[in-house]
């Protein structure tokens, strides 16, 4: 498999908010019937072409969710550190899952490497309008307070599924671009050490290989 960048995204949220179906929809429902017996094939992967300043990058996305393992809390928090961006889902028809979003943000801030991780907040299952319990304005207001982007998504209709990941990818690529440029200025021969120092100073994620 050929690609320029490997980017790992993590999908978080209460169990039952539809994380798996979200990612499943995004990967075009590609599901290998043999995937259980084939070791190492991950259906939560997708390679996309990303346009940046007239340059095309092949980006290999790894989409992670902790489906089924949510209760192994001590283990799942370790996943946060490896992700470069987060999709934070709640269920628009389940108020409790919305109230939990605050805790999720705290968790991400504690356990991810950045104090200000890239997060896109998704109100999921927006096709179920008649069962909806979380008002759109309320969710927008909340997202604004936490400086998050907010989208309403549905795995059933496919609404905003691709969009949510594109937006998150934009944020990550922007951060990476600015970081790389900044790193280019500072890093000379002993790039790694200087980058480490830089990171210690700013606690920002940057590196170029």
């Amino acid at each position: 498999m050929d690609y320029d960048y490997l980017i790992k995204l993590l999908c978080v949220g209460d169990s039952g908010v539809g994380k798996t179906s979200f990612l499943y929809k995004y990967t075009d429902g590609v599901f290998h019937t043999q995937f259980i017996s084939t070791v190492g094939i991950d259906f939560r992967e997708k390679t996309v072409i990303y346009q940046q300043n007239a340059r095309q990058h092949r980006i290999h996305l790894q989409l992670w969710d902790t489906a089924g393992q949510e209760r192994f809390r001590s283990l799942t928090t370790a996943f946060y550190r490896d992700a470069m961006g987060f999709l934070l889902l709640f269920d628009l028809t389940n108020e409790a899952s919305f109230l939990e979003v605050r805790n999720w943000i705290e968790q991400l801030k504690t356990h991810s490497l950045s104090d200000d991780p890239d997060i896109v907040l998704c109100g999921h299952k927006c096709d179920l309008q008649e069962k909806r319990l979380v008002n759109q304005n309320r969710a927008r207001e909340f997202a604004k307070n936490y400086n998050l982007l907010y989208l309403e998504t549905s795995a059933k209709t496919g609404q905003n599924i691709d969009r949510a990941i594109e937006i998150l990818l934009d944020k990550i690529m922007y951060r990476m671009e600015t970081s790389v440029e900044y790193a280019m200025l500072c890093a000379s021969g002993r790039r790694r050490q200087s980058l480490q120092r830089l990171q210690a100073k700013q606690d920002r994620k940057l590196c170029s290989c």
Binding site: M1, D2, Y3, D4, Y5, L6, K8, G16, T20, S21, Y24, F31, T33, F35, I36, V39, G40, I41, D42, F43, H60, W64, T66, A67, G68, Q69, E70, R71, F72, R73, S74, L75, T77, A78, F79, R81, D82, A83, M84, T110, H111, S112, L113, S114, I172, M176, S179, V180, L195, Q196, R197, Q199, A200, Q202, D203, K205, L206, C207, S208, C209
Partner: protein, 520 residues
């Protein structure tokens, strides 16, 4: 008795157990058509395997047997005994048909009867099997040349009796917990077996078989560990700590405890993502216990490290737990390895830069090796390979299977667009559960050491999760945080397809937003 033997719904008033199983019956119903040849195929195929799908078959057929014999009142019972006596006569004439080899004996009898032809040429083993699987009901339209009804009946009932006994033996020996968790089922089965044992017309082999099964049902299985009592936190705080206990003792007792829960998980708990549903405590109690215990041990490991005020103490604690994890790995207790790896890669421990600097090189290498082993990369690729290579006893990491099951459940529908059962999905689920069951069956030869288990189960030793991070900050204030990540590679560093690129991936963990060039 004349109606179709495959019933989709349990009879009114059936035990809740029967109702539950009827789901299995529904699923397998499609696989057991009335058509004789395929019925025999199904039967023949299902016998030698140890699989969950088979279990479903077994359950469903037993279910219909149960309904036939016990659901329908007294009529079926009398018919069993009467046929049985006829069968005895038949057996005397022909000699020796062996128990269990229904098809063969059938064919032999065909030949041995010579002029007095018992069976028409249209009779095949498949027909006999079809009849046998529908128990003692008569064939709908006997061929014109068919022999007197009584003889035919007797052979058929031989087949039926043996088949019922075989199915029962399989159910009782492979899934005995079904009987010990349902007194009514056990009682009915024992009544039935006693009746077979007492009926004078049956062959000695059949009596013997019934008696054997009865004995199995009378004596509770040897391994009746009371999980609740075993996992009860000690009344008085334990005096032990990681310095007083040896790494071997800790690893063995961790394995002992893990195996006790793991082997008690019922296959039903894995169905329908029961462990995530609101009634999870009823439907998946052992899975919940497994996860709770996993988190407890991880938190214990974190706490035992954070409790040490001195850097030297923390280093020693980390090295001790690394040794424990390494022994757990040798014991094939991958669950235990993950418990400790999860703790060591928890933010509160992972960020302790100064501590990690002092950890010995060998311990770091051990930890690194184990983190590669338990990496969630590519759906736990390395762990899966290790599991497929290793011989039981073994405790796999359950979360991996729970993820698989979640993806299967959510990624595919239960029914095809034509409204038929989605068999490939059911097979995938069965495949996962069978793999788990394989590991459940081989116990460890480890003796229970109460004082070590008390240490492992003492809730009082655990620092609450909210407190762990603040305590970690107190031990090593934040300024050091930024570069702490570089000290040892992340447990599950971003995946890159080739092994040689893994080095770079660990660098990427140092700066998670780093562009990772795939090829240079």
């Amino acid at each position: 008795m004349s109606e179709s033997p495959r019933r989709l719904h349990p009879p009114a008033g059936a035990a809740p157990d029967a109702r539950r199983r009827s789901e299995g019956a529904k699923e397998t119903a499609g696989a057991e058509p009335a058509e004789p040849r395929r019925a025999s195929d199904t039967a023949a195929r299902s016998l030698p395997r140890r699989s969950v799908s088979e279990r479903r078959c077994t359950n469903s057929s037993i279910n219909s047997e149960r309904r036939r014999y016990w659901g329908g009142g007294s009529e079926p019972r009398t018919s069993v005994t009467s046929q049985v006596s006829q069968m005895q006569n038949y057996r005397r004439e022909t000699g020796q048909p062996k128990a269990g080899v229904v098809i063969t004996s059938f064919r032999q009898s065909h030949r041995s009867f010579g002029k007095d032809l018992l069976w028409s040429s249209t009779s095949t083993a498949a027909v006999a099997f079809a009849v046998a699987t529908s128990a003692s009901s008569n064939p709908r339209s006997p061929p014109p040349t068919s022999p007197p009804q009584t003889r035919r009946d007797s052979v058929i009932s031989t087949a039926a009796t043996m088949r019922v006994l075989n199915v029962l033996r399989h159910w009782i020996s492979k899934h005995s917990s079904d009987f010990w968790s349902d007194e009514r089922l056990r009682g009915l089965t024992m009544d039935f077996l006693k009746e077979i044992e007492a009926s004078p017309g049956l062959l000695p082999a059949e009596h013997k078989s019934a008696a054997q099964l009865l004995r199995l049902l009378e004596r509770p299985p040897d391994r009746t560990v009371d999980l609740k009592a075993l996992f009860m936190p000690p009344r008085v705080p334990t005096k032990e700590n990681i310095e007083t206990l040896s790494a071997l003792e800790i690893a063995e007792q961790m394995t002992y405890l893990d195996y006790q829960i793991f082997s008690s998980i019922h296959s039903e708990e894995f169905l329908g993502q029961a462990w995530t549903k609101s009634d999870k405590a009823v439907r998946a109690p052992h899975i919940l216990m497994m996860t709770a215990h996993f988190n407890h041990i991880s938190n214990l490991v974190i706490s035992e490290i954070l409790k040490k005020n001195t850097l030297i103490g923390r280093v020693a604690a980390i090295e001790k737990w690394a040794a424990v994890a390494d022994i757990a790995r040798c014991l094939h207790n991958f669950n235990g390895v993950l418990q400790i790896c999860a703790a060591l890669s928890n933010t509160s421990i992972f960020r302790l830069k100064k501590t990690w600097e002092k950890v010995s090189k060998t311990s770091k290498q051990t930890i690194e090796r184990m983190q590669t082993l338990t990496s969630s990369e590519c759906r736990f690729r390395v762990l899966r390979e290790a599991l497929h290579r290793c011989d039981p006893p073994c405790i796999p990491y359950l979360g991996m299977y729970l993820s698989d099951l979640s993806f299967i459940e959510e990624g595919t529908t239960n029914y095809t667009p034509e409204g038929l059962l989605n068999f490939s999905k059911m097979r995938m689920i069965a495949h996962v559960i069978r793999e788990i069951r394989n590991f459940q069956h081989t116990p460890y030869k480890i003796d229970h050491i109460p004082k070590v288990c008390e240490f492992l189960l003492d809730r009082g030793l655990v620092i609450p999760e909210e407190r762990q991070y603040t305590l970690s900050l107190e031990l090593e204030p934040r300024a050091a945080r930024g570069s702490s990540a570089g000290l040892h590679p992340a447990p599950a560093s971003p995946a890159s397809p080739a092994a040689q690129r893994r080095r770079r991936a660990s660098l990427a963990a140092l700066a998670p937003l780093a562009p990772l060039k795939a090829d240079h």
